[in-house]
């Protein structure tokens, strides 16, 4: 067999970075640090100058002290663990539910037609109003918070899964059909893969919302969890502690988000490279 002449596969050359691009690379982090110092200085100034009352916002050094004290107290970890469990269980159940319903609606026009009014209604509903009902139904324990996390987090994934599945290229489906693909083959080997970038965008939103759901549930009625702790400190006017727990929650949200972003980059590695491989566009 005489193979045709083709160019050799190339490997990316990693030449030394010139000085300009080094500056370019670090300007973000350095700028961010400067902004952080500026914000902290402003915070310090507005609190010590009495512009904002210390019952609303204590100075940064006091909040920092409360933040570190919080981590030395054993009971804090119990509350943290409760909330983490609620968020993670709610999130996992939420994405399973969201993906399944999204897959059903994305593949069946009949299912879409039947459920469309309900979707619109549920989308318009501020889901946090469900909290009192869920507390009544599932009690003051973890169950009601998990349910809140599920209720609030499954929806973005449902929408993103559905819309991702619906944008599958018709000609790619024809290709699969010409290869004798079954409906299952087309779904798993083409549609789901195609929808992955959209699905993961939904997963990110869902995760953030799962945290919101769990905390709202804890605010409304709970005996444990970071939301409960935050509410308790608030009643006791321990404002530095309120801010400390707020920072812990922010940190928790960031860690969870970064984790999903990392998974996203691993799973949907092709998305940034242009989803299309159409001749002429590549």
């Amino acid at each position: 067999m005489t193979a045709m002449k083709t160019p050799e596969p190339q490997t990316m050359s990693t030449s030394a970075l010139p000085r300009r691009s080094l500056r370019r690379r670090f300007r973000g982090p350095i700028g961010g640090l400067i902004l952080f110092l500026l914000l902290t200085a402003t915070w310090q100034w507005v609190t010590t100058a009495g512009i904002v009352h210390r019952v609303i916002l204590p100075p940064p050094n006091e909040v920092a002290a409360a933040f570190f004290t919080t981590f030395t107290e054993g009971f804090f970890y119990g509350h943290l663990w409760i909330t983490v469990q609620e968020v993670l269980i709610g999130f996992v159940v939420g994405i399973i539910l969201g993906f399944s319903l999204g897959a059903l609606l994305g593949t069946s026009a009949l299912a879409r037609e039947i459920s469309y009014p309900y979707i619109v209604a549920f989308q318009g509903l501020p889901k946090i109003v469900l909290a009192p009902i869920f507390i009544t139904a599932f009690g003051f324990g973890m169950m009601s918070k998990v349910m809140m996390a599920v209720a609030i987090s499954f929806f973005p994934l449902l929408i993103n899964t559905m819309s991702g599945l619906m944008t599958v290229d018709a000609e790619s489906v024809q290709l699969m059909r010409s290869l004798t693909a079954s409906k299952q083959d087309i779904f798993w080997k083409l549609s789901v893969k195609h929808a992955m970038p959209s699905i993961f965008a939904g997963v990110k939103t869902s995760l953030t919302l799962a945290l919101v759901g769990a905390i709202v549930g804890e605010f409304v009625g709970a005996r444990a969890g970071l939301g409960f702790l935050l509410a308790s400190y608030s009643y006791q006017l321990q404002v530095d502690r309120v801010w400390a727990v707020t920072m812990v929650l922010a940190l928790l949200g960031i860690i969870l988000f970064l984790f999903i972003e990392w998974v996203d980059k691993k799973v949907v590695f092709w998305a940034k490279r242009g989803v299309t491989t159409d001749v002429g566009l590549a």
């Binding site: 083709t6 596969p9 083409l190 001749v279 590549a282």
Partner: protein, 254 residues
């Protein structure tokens, strides 16, 4: 000794639209021999792609009978279809893309893998198996698509303007490449194109289609031997064939 690979008898296709019925294809009757390389040539709207999709079993005809490799058209291993776009999946490497038909048809893994590597070699992409589609040029992507359609070793290749979106130089190279491979692997080829030059260059016979309604206007035999090269296109005989096809296309457009 030749056998008939594709046979159609008064194939018709009518689409119902809001403004009434549109006849896409009217009474197309033809026969294609095993191992023949043929083109369906015509301007857009002449129904040539519709006809190809009927042969592929992807859209049902509204009238007439068709037989491809001994059976009524439906997607099957014996018939391979290639599109104008490569339709490679960006989440699969070059090798994984070529292996797709094998997964779907549940072909034995080890043999198929070996065959996929041989095919990549055949289309000139030796050493590119671990690359992703976006790392390849348009011409190379179509070579991968060619290797993919060849994987299940189909008897018939139905090609819907496979190189139509490529630049002329790449298209000519791939046309010759295609005929070389078709010769080597003894495939029956049906190529849809709107390029008279391309049709005459690669085909044993050219089926000329004319639009509104799409119908077969005539058949031109191109009795040049194979393999052909770019020198073939410079001969007076080639120019005569091109003129003959052009006349047929123009004559029925009144």
């Amino acid at each position: 000794m030749t056998a008939t690979m594709i046979r159609t008898d008064r194939i018709g296709k009518t689409y119902g639209t809001s403004s009434g019925e549109v006849v896409a294809l009217e009474e197309v009757t033809l026969e294609i021999e095993t191992g023949e390389i043929t083109s369906l040539l015509g301007s857009s709207g002449c129904g040539k792609s519709t006809f190809l999709n009927v042969l592929a079993g992807l859209i049902p005809q509204t009238s007439g009978e068709a037989e491809v490799a001994g059976r009524a058209p439906r997607p099957r291993r014996e018939v391979g279809l290639m599109f104008q776009r490569s339709l490679l999946f960006p989440w699969r490497t070059v090798l994984e893309n070529v292996l797709l038909p094998g997964e779907i048809m549940r072909l034995p893994t080890d043999e198929t893998r070996q065959r996929a590597r041989e095919l990549l070699d055949l289309v000139g992409l030796d050493g590119w198996d671990k690359k992703y589609p976006w790392e390849l040029s348009g011409g190379m992507q179509q070579r991968v698509a060619l290797a993919r359609v060849l994987l299940p070793d189909p008897d018939v290749l139905l090609l819907d303007e496979p190189f139509g979106a490529l630049d002329e130089m790449t298209r000519e190279a791939l046309d010759l490449e295609l005929t070389r491979i078709a010769n080597l692997t003894k495939k029956t080829v049906v190529l849809v194109t709107h390029s008279v030059y391309e049709a005459v260059m690669i085909s044993d016979r050219v089926f000329v289609f004319t639009p509104r309604p799409g119908r077969l206007a005539g058949i031109v035999s191109v009795p040049f031997g194979r393999p052909r090269d770019l020198g073939t296109s410079g001969t007076p005989a080639f120019a005569e064939k091109v003129a003959e096809v052009r006349a047929l296309m123009a004559g029925s457009e009144s």
